[in-house]
Every structure is written in structure tokens, then in C-alpha cells.
Amino acid sequence: MTTIRLLAAALAASALLAVGPPRVPPPVAVLALLAAVLAVGELWLRAPALSLEPPAGRIGLGLVCGLISLPLIALALYLARVPIRAHSLAAGLAALTLLLGGAVLLRERAGGREADPRLPWTFGAIALPVLVALVVGGTAVWAYARLPHPPQPGYTSVALDGWAAGIAGPVAIPRGGLDVPIRVSSAGEPAIVAPLSVIVDTLRIAPPHPVPIAADTAGSIHVHVPTPPNGCLHRIEISLGAASTVFYGRGPAPC
């Protein structure tokens, strides 16, 4: 392929990549990036006129040079204090393409180069097993992922929810008590009915209240916490089955 065509291919791929996801679907973007990486890699080799036998070696070295262009661009962006994003990377790729392409064109004006007729064959020799591997390996992974697997251990979780998730110290509990939101989640376990209890210090406030927990669900419930007897620090535990949350609170009365 002539250098001009390589340059055009790399720049067109960079432009497509600059549009970026989600407007360019991932499969198209992957192909564009592959084209850009291979083209830039080949330009890396042409710039100092490197030739490597056999042709597979040249393609391999080209792919390596194309691949390392990505961290090189990322490093340059970092040094220039530009955030590493799709647009900046695509711009960097285009700039590198132009830089290398310019160097190659300048050199070729002086000497020129002959195309290796074996290169397309070797590309084919690499592409064929890659395609077969994609089909065979892809099918194996797809099948493995879809076949039944042993169930993972299930769990039921209890967590402070809503404003209560932000409790960072003793809570001032007003007269009349406080409704504390609790998030209850279940995954991989059958539906159960778990006893809900509120314990202030060591005292269970009321008999356990049964709470049904459906399988594989997450929901929020409000639990009423009564006013502690005084303004001293009191331990408040809300337990649901074997799981619980614990925080500390003070009542309005003096300690």
C-alpha cells in the first residue's frame, strides 16, 4: 500500500474514532482502531525505512509499534495536562499519523520504496487463523457462559438507607422516636420471613416483628426507633434475622 493511502486510511480511521461512542457502534470503532493501529505501525516502520524478514516479522513489528502508539499518545496528553478522553486520543492519533506520514513522504521523495509482494499473503496467513480462532474460541466462551453453573452462595443484607446511610455519629432522637429507613436485599436465597427487632442498649423494645423477604429483591422499610431514656450515649441495634445495623443515639432528656 502506498504511503498516501496508508495516511488516508489512518486519518479516516482517526476521524471516525474522534466521533466516538456511542455515535459510532463499538464493532465499527474496533475495526477503525485496528486499521489505525496497523497503519500507524506501518508508518513507524517506513519512517526510518526498517525492513524485517520474514514478512510476518514485519507485520508483527508493525502491530507492536501501532499498539505502543496508544500509551505514547496518552503519555504525551498527560504531559500536556490534557485529559485522556476519546477526542484527545483520536486527535493525538491523527497528529502522530501526520508526523510519521510526513517523515515517510519526505524520505520517499528522496529514495522511494518497493512494495513487498509477499505482504498481502502474509496478512492473509495471519487473518485466517485469527478469524477461525474468533469463531472457535468465541463459540467455546459463549457456550461456557451459557451452560448452567453451580449456584453461588446467597445472602440477605441489611443496611442503613436514605438519610440514615449518612449517620456518622450519635443521632439526636426526638421525643416520639425516629423512623429509620433500612434497605433489605436478598440474592440467591429463597423467600423467608425474618424477625425484625429493635434493641436499645441491651433492651429489646418489643417482640420481634415478622418481615417477609422475597427472593432476589431489594427494598426499603422504615423501622421506628423509640426515644432513649436520656441524653447519654445509647447503642441502637436494628436486626433482621441474622443481619443487623448498629448506631448510637441520644434522647432529649438530660444525661
Binding site: 485522556i84 496467513a125 487463523p129 477461525v132 443496611a159 440474592a187 443481619a243
Partner: protein
């Protein structure tokens, strides 16, 4: 005819091999017998025919390249099947996080809480993050694309290097296949880790180095060598150091050789330049690296001294309590012996068949010297601290062995094809089985039931859900105290900054304190000063001993006698300390928020 037979054969055997590998993983996860046998059946049903086609005379360079690419693709499949959907190995969580952080924040060199030096070597993460950003695929899928490409590039790179050295396509193919026998090839250097990209970069740097010292276009190849070496340096510390060591050996092997003066000068110049690059990077960009690597080497040397001085103290028993089958264990012990025999045969042949080209002769001697490093490194495998390092050096020393042994194998095939073919196939099988068994634990290679204290099997949906909940309700980049296994998930998927303890910051003392006893005040002061907000408690620590013998970190002052080192009381005491608020509980996992303001005592 040239293409049809290998294409049909390898497609069919590839499909059969892939089916057997899937069956092996399914047998392992359902705890049915036969996982190991199915795994090796799957591997050998493809790799042996691939080796046959690669070393035959008839196929030209293009079909041989196709076979090597197929070999590279197929040998990635075991790791791909092990965790197709996300990180699983310890270091994979660190690298996944690092790439994910680049996507989120757009910056390199961010600190990593799981492997502390990872952030200073951004080559892999920048590549993966760039691919993910430009294409819209997930970080994991972008990583897979990079890793599969890197794995195939290893095979092609060794072939290219061998072809430079021996100028024969068959020898090059044998060298590539032989390199694939090293213990890291199937599972370690295929993981989402910086070495997986750095190893191919190093190999291609050596290809460029060889061209630079041979010429023509020496200046261009010198520039190419420096570019590739720089990419290796910014990707992985150990590989960069390994590259310098290999370049030193190359330069030394050329020095003083008749007809090699310009080549030796170029080799020394490039070696010094790359050594300068490595030193510069380690001094100015990644100064933490020396402190990170030093304890491993120091402890390993002490343990070797212990083995030599007082009859075995400090050593480890290979395959202790391993579930690996007998043939894997025997093959693991046989592999170094067979490698030694092959090296001796190749060295003898090297002495008898002198290459007329002095540079190639120097390269062959360098390969011998690099290959010989494999044997002393094997001694380190007998030490707990050196075992990991020993295994990692084999990715370098096997390069020398592969380059050295390949011409001998081809010569044997040419002279005594009928006997040499089966013998070499048997050697290939024993080395593949033995080195793989020595390189990776079964729990890393196969799925299995959830087990506490295993990097690969202790991560359950419950831990993931807790990490997701913390990030969703409290935000990211929170400083948290955790054990090793929870730390992996909270530090990666959870986007938090976990600390799992060290000698200078013994956060494990929080867990070790007996109920009713005070937690050491200096530790609480340190946690408060450094703005630690959360504590993660995995109650399985009181139910099971960790499979890999670590709760928090390798130097933890915790007994490992096969029984849990914690009582349930030690882990649930935080339910009763006023400075910990239990905000989340799912049975095994509890999350506490620190409230150091109440440390004055309850009133």
C-alpha cells in the same frame, strides 16, 4: 494442498480442544473428576498437531505463520475460559482498577491501593484505557483484546528473533513452540497484568536490537530499539530489568569476538542507553519500585541461606496439599531435568557446529548464557518468598533455552525423523504439563467452589454487592481498612482505597484485638489522622483458614496452623464499640463507619 490440510486439521483439532477445555472447566466447577485429564486432552489435541505442522518442511513461510498465529490464539483459550467476564487473579484487580481510573479521571500515574507500584508503570493501562475510550467497549473487553494480541505477538516475536539468529523458518517455529512451554505462558503472562504486555515488548526490542547490531540501516534500528525499550520500561519494572540483563549478556557475548567489533559497540551503546532509561524511570518516576521489590529478593536469599545452612529451615515443600494429579507433579520435577539434558545437547551441538557469522555465533552464545540462568533460578522455587520470583524469571530464561534448543530439535527431526518425532512430542508434552503445573496453582487454573482465603475463589456475589453498595451510597476513593480478599473487590469494583496492613501501619491489629480489650491507641490515632472512614469485616475469617495462608499481607504476625486465627468475638466486637457504626451487614460481610469523635468514651 499446502493450506488445506493444516487448515482443516487445526480447525477440527482446535474445535475439539476447545470443547475439551470447556468440559474440563465444567468438571472442575461441578467438582466432578477428570478436570485435569480433560484439560490436558484439550491442550494436546491441538498443540501437538500444530507443532507437527509448524516443523514440517513442506508448508512455506505463510502457512507456518498461520500455524503459529493459531497456536498463539489457542493457547490463550484456557485463561479466557477461566474468567471471560472480569478480573479474577490478584493483580488483575489492580490493573483493572488502574485502567478504569484512567477512563474515569483521564489521568495517568494515579496511586493504586492493591499493588502500590502499578500506577508508576502506565503502559498497559494507558493502552487498555485508550482502546476502551476510543471504541466504547468495556475495560475488560479492551484488556482482552490487548492481551490476546500481546500473546500472539509473543509467539511471533520469538519466531522473528529465532529467524534472525538461525535464518531458518522451521527453527524459528520450533523456538516459538519451545518458548510456549515456559511456566508463565498459559496462565501468568496471559493475565491482565503489566508483564503480559511487557514480555512481547521486550522480545520485539531484542528483535530490533539484533537488527541494530547486524545492520543494515543500523541507525533506524537503533531508534527502533530505543522506542521499543522505552515502551517496555514504562510498562513493567521486572521486564525492563530483565531486558537490560539480557542486553548485557548479548553485549558481553559479542565482546572480544573476531569480526564483531562494530556489533559489540552498538550492543554496549544500546545496553547503556536502555539501562539509563530504566535507571532514570526508577529514580524519577517510580522511586517506590526498589522498596517494593527489595523485600522479596532479600527474604528469598535469606531463605536459601536457611535451606543451605540448617538443613531445610525456610524452605517449602513443592505441591504440599496440592490437588494436582500425580502425573502433573512428576512432570513438574522432570521438567528441569529434561531442560538440562536438552540444554546440554544443544550446547554440545553449538560447540561442534560453529556458525560462520560471528554475530550470529555471539547471539547463540548469549542464548546459552540466558538459558543457563533458568537452572539457578529453579533453586529459588524451594523458598516461599523466592518461588514467585523464580517463576517470573522463567519467562526470560526460557527465551534463551528456546533459542538455543530449536536448531538441535530441527537437526534431530532432519536426521532421525521417525524416532525424533515421537520423542520430541513426548518431551513437549512433559515440559508443557510439568512447567504449567509448577507455574500456577490449580485454584488459579480451574474454577471451583467458593473458598475463603483464595484470591480466585473467595470473591462471592455477597462481597461484590457490599462493595457496590458502599460506592453507591458513600461515594468512591474512600479510605477503608480491609482484609486482602475484600480489599481486592472494594479496591477495584468498589472504587475505594483499601489498606490491608503492613509492619508500619498494622491495621490487622484492629481485628486481632480481643473483645473487651482496647485497640492500640496509636493505631486509632493513625487511622483518624489519615482520614480512614470505613472498616470491612469478613466473618469467614473466623470460620475458615485462608487457603493461601494470608489474611492481610505476607508479613502479617498471625499464626497459620490450619485453623482460623480469629474468633467470632474478635470480629463482632465492633458491634459494641461506640466508635464503629455498623452501616451494612450481609452475614459474612459487615461494613462499619469509624466515628473517632466518640473515642473519649461513652457518656
Amino acid at each position: 494442498m499446502t493450506w488445506t490440510a493444516p487448515t482443516v486439521t487445526l480447525t477440527l483439532t482446535g474445535a475439539a480442544g476447545a470443547t475439551a477445555l470447556v468440559a474440563a472447566d465444567r468438571a472442575a466447577e461441578w467438582q466432578r473428576p477428570g478436570a485435569f485429564a480433560l484439560f490436558w486432552l484439550g491442550m494436546l489435541v491441538f498443540t501437538l498437531p500444530a507443532a507437527y505442522w509448524a516443523v514440517r518442511r513442506q508448508p512455506g513461510p505463510a502457512p507456518r505463520t498461520a500455524v503459529l498465529v493459531a497456536y498463539g490464539c489457542f493457547t490463550y483459550l484456557p485463561k479466557l475460559l477461566r474468567n471471560p467476564a472480569g478480573p479474577l487473579y490478584h493483580d488483575e484487580y489492580a490493573h483493572w482498577r488502574q485502567s478504569h481510573e484512567i477512563l474515569l479521571d483521564g489521568r495517568l500515574f494515579e496511586a493504586n491501593p492493591i499493588v502500590r507500584v502499578v500506577g508508576d508503570f502506565p503502559g498497559l493501562h494507558a493502552t487498555v484505557a485508550a482502546l476502551a475510550a476510543l471504541t466504547g467497549v468495556s475495560v475488560w473487553h479492551a484488556a482482552l483484546a490487548v492481551l490476546i494480541a500481546a500473546h500472539v505477538l509473543v509467539v511471533l516475536g520469538v519466531a522473528a528473533l529465532a529467524e534472525q539468529l538461525w535464518r531458518d523458518g522451521r527453527t524459528a517455529a520450533v523456538a516459538a513452540l519451545a518458548y510456549g512451554l515456559n511456566s508463565s505462558f498459559l496462565f501468568f503472562d496471559t493475565q491482565f497484568g503489566y508483564e503480559s504486555l511487557a514480555i512481547p515488548l521486550m522480545i520485539w526490542t531484542l528483535v530490533a536490537l539484533h537488527r541494530a547490531i547486524r545492520g543494515p540501516q543500523r541507525t533506524g534500528w537503533i531508534a527502533g530499539t530505543l522506542l521499543l525499550a522505552a515502551a517496555t520500561v514504562v510498562t513493567h519494572h521486572l521486564t525492563a530489568l530483565g531486558l537490560v540483563a539480557i542486553m548485557l549478556i548479548f553485549a558481553a557475548a559479542l565482546t572480544g569476538r573476531r569480526g564483531c567489533r562494530p556489533a559489540a559497540w552498538t550492543a554496549w551503546l544500546l545496553t547503556l542507553a536502555v539501562a539509563g532509561l530504566v535507571a532514570g524511570w526508577l529514580c524519577w518516576v517510580a522511586p517506590k519500585t526498589a522498596g517494593y521489590l527489595d523485600p522479596y529478593l532479600g527474604k528469598a536469599l535469606n531463605q536459601i541461606a536457611g535451606i543451605l545452612n540448617d538443613s531445610g529451615s525456610g524452605g517449602r515443600t513443592l505441591f504440599k496439599q496440592s490437588v494436582a494429579p500425580w502425573y502433573e507433579q512428576k512432570a513438574a520435577f522432570a521438567a528441569p531435568v529434561l531442560a538440562l539434558a536438552a540444554t546440554a545437547a544443544a550446547a554440545w551441538r553449538l560447540r561442534r557446529h560453529r556458525d560462520p557469522d560471528p554475530v550470529d555465533r555471539g547471539g547463540a552464545v548469549a542464548a546459552l548464557l540466558i538459558g543457563l540462568c533458568y537452572f539457578p533460578a529453579a533453586l529459588l522455587i524451594l523458598t516461599p518468598s523466592g518461588a514467585e520470583g523464580a517463576r517470573r524469571t522463567w519467562a526470560f530464561s526460557y527465551l534463551g533455552l528456546a533459542l538455543l534448543v530449536a536448531p538441535t530439535a530441527v537437526a534431530l527431526l532432519d536426521r532421525k525423523a521417525r524416532a525424533a518425532g515421537p520423542a520430541l512430542a513426548a518431551l513437549f508434552t512433559v515440559l508443557l504439563v510439568g512447567n504449567t503445573a509448577a507455574g500456577m496453582n490449580p485454584s488459579y487454573r480451574f474454577p471451583g467452589p467458593a473458598t475463603y482465603g483464595s484470591d480466585t475463589r473467595s470473591i462471592t456475589p455477597e462481597v461484590r454487592a457490599a462493595a457496590d453498595w458502599l460506592r453507591a451510597t458513600q461515594g468512591r476513593d474512600l479510605r477503608i481498612v480491609a482484609d486482602r480478599y475484600s480489599g481486592l473487590v472494594f479496591g477495584s469494583y468498589g472504587d475505594q482505597f483499601p489498606v490491608t496492613g503492613s509492619v508500619t501501619f498494622p491495621t490487622y491489629d484492629l481485628y486481632l484485638t480481643q473483645p473487651g480489650r482496647p485497640v492500640p491507641p496509636p493505631l486509632l490515632h493513625q487511622l483518624s489522622e489519615w482520614d480512614f472512614g470505613y472498616l470491612i469485616v469478613d466473618r469467614r475469617m473466623a470460620e475458615q483458614a485462608p487457603e493461601i495462608g494470608i489474611y492481610f499481607e505476607t508479613n502479617e504476625p498471625i499464626p497459620h496452623d490450619g485453623r482460623p486465627a480469629f474468633t467470632l468475638g474478635q470480629l463482632t466486637k465492633f458491634d459494641h464499640t461506640p466508635w464503629t457504626i455498623k452501616i451494612y451487614d450481609s452475614g459474612d460481610i459487615a461494613i462499619y463507619r469509624f466515628d473517632f469523635s466518640t473515642l473519649g468514651g461513652p457518656q
